[in-house]
Symmetry: C2
Subunit: 311 residues, 2 copies
């Protein structure tokens, strides 16, 4: 199995109540690949400018991440500047400089087309479609998006969704795309387009899985966020969640409901480490043992016994 | 075992996107007692005016609810008028007429003082303290409150909390009382006052349990809300959650962590039925079989398998 991600590699300047960083390594493809490479080999497709610091390339190259799809073009790297206040749930964007990302056109090296598990991070849905159509025999295509594409490229997004097996989407964006306050109905509208599953990301409230399963019992799964007393920086939580999710599935090699549920727990666990530090700092030295410990804790935090006919 | 509740019995006029009712049976003690009486005998302490409709009394009396503590005094019954919009998460109060509830002073018939499980619904914390101190040998005292008492009677509320074993509180109110955005820290501040457990009610996101357990594994538990496509009226969700929670614990007769976890699931399940209709309509004919079915569904919706060393 091998994983492919297409998305952004960026330089983030982030301020939270707990500190700040400038021009730190960021971007959806970065967070995803750093997380997913804990599980399996990742092929990365993205673009950076000539100003992109070599230590960041070295870091990515130090992991099982293939960078032959990382374009280096004349100009400046995509920069994002944002701030989080105490609630840490929503970022306030202070500045976005797309730079070389504005004209990004993903090019897949030939061997990337053999990837089995694909994450189409939040980019123009027309490009998501292009990439998805180049994969020879995908076992799992997962897709993320954002409000901008729902507003301005809804038709292309609908086409991209129809090519995906799993849609990962924020709660507010699910409601926006489904044009309904009910998450169940919003998920059903997305499932009707083809995907087998929708994962609604709820930040501090965890994640909800909705599937096109025939029985009610197979249609829902809920995972809480791993409880943290202190969150340094929420940036990258969603993309590293996707990295844990897709990474675990690629490593397992099947896409059964039970595997997807466990993959969601892996996503929650990896995201919980991501937000404990700025940029990808906490993920640099994250071990399988640390993941396993939180996974077992998540079992305790959610398990309850059968009724024993007591009521 | 027997249960005691002190709170309000009211006439609610509620409008939601899915319908409306006028002067329907409501109030915290009503929702709690209707739910808890599915599990055990309930002693109710509240006050109504001379205008309180006899059919409502007949309904409560048709269940294992002792009404000898229901005062009937000259004047009008407490009335609440509210509206919910599509998000259904927060009520907009249109009118509150405290009427006879303004001078409510709970009087416990002698035999009520033998109650083992007590729910101090959202009333003046000075009255909560008075009631708690009259119980001879409580096994479990659970307490609810609201922002008004945090703002205006914080000291009395702190005293009431110190007498309770379990505090049930809304998410925003937990943050307000704890003066911190972190729910973990807010819960810890409440636990430091004496209670064994804090249950944070999160509406559509379910409920979180925080305990003073020594190990991390025993300190957290998370339950999602039962997934519903259609909610008619959220009024009473919190109080019927408390009814399922306290009712199940009273019926079981122990207060172990495992019992509390199962009790939270019962709370979620009973609340899910409550919100499917206005007032207590859905609870009138709710059966143990229906509760058991949703309980089992909740197991499926939250269960995932161990890692099998796969990552």
């Amino acid at each position: 199995m091998s994983i492919l991600v297409v998305g952004s590699v960026a330089l983030d300047s982030v301020q939270t109540p707990f500190g700040k960083v400038e021009d730190a390594l960021g971007g959806s493809a970065t967070f995803f690949a750093t997380a997913a490479s804990l599980y399996d080999k990742v092929n990365l497709v993205a673009v950076v400018g000539t100003d992109f610091p070599q230590p960041h390339v070295d870091f990515l190259q130090s992991r099982p991440i293939d960078l032959s799809g990382l374009q280096r073009v004349e100009g400046k790297t995509f920069r994002w500047k944002g701030r989080y206040d105490y609630d840490l749930n929503s970022a306030q964007t202070l500045d976005t400089q797309l730079n070389v990302f504005a004209t990004f056109h993903p090019k897949l090296p030939d061997h990337y087309r053999d990837a089995t598990h694909v994450f189409l991070a939040n980019i123009d849905p027309e490009l998501q479609v292009e990439v998805a159509q180049q994969i020879k025999a995908p076992k799992l295509i997962a897709l993320d998006t954002m409000n901008y594409w729902i507003d301005y490229k809804r038709d292309a997004l609908t086409k991209a969704i129809s090519l995906a097996h799993v849609v990962l989407i924020n709660e507010a964006e699910a409601r926006q795309y489904g044009n309904t306050f009910s998450l169940i109905r919003a998920a059903r509208k997305i499932l009707a387009l083809g995907p087998r599953a929708v994962i609604v990301k709820k930040g501090e409230y965890g994640a909800a899985l909705f599937t096109n399963g025939e029985s009610l019992l197979s249609q829902h799964f809920f995972a809480p966020a791993y409880p943290l007393e202190k969150i340094a920086d929420p940036t990258g939580a969603g993309d590293s969640f996707a990295g844990g999710f897709v990474g675990y599935i690629a490593r397992r090699g099947d896409t059964s409901l039970e595997t997807m549920k466990r993959a969601i727990i892996h996503g929650c666990v990896v995201a919980s480490f991501t937000v404990e530090a700025f940029s990808v700092e906490r993920l640099r030295h994250l071990t399988h043992e640390e993941i396993a410990t939180r996974y077992r804790e998540m079992q305790h935090f959610t398990h309850f016994e059968a009724m024993n006919g007591a009521a």
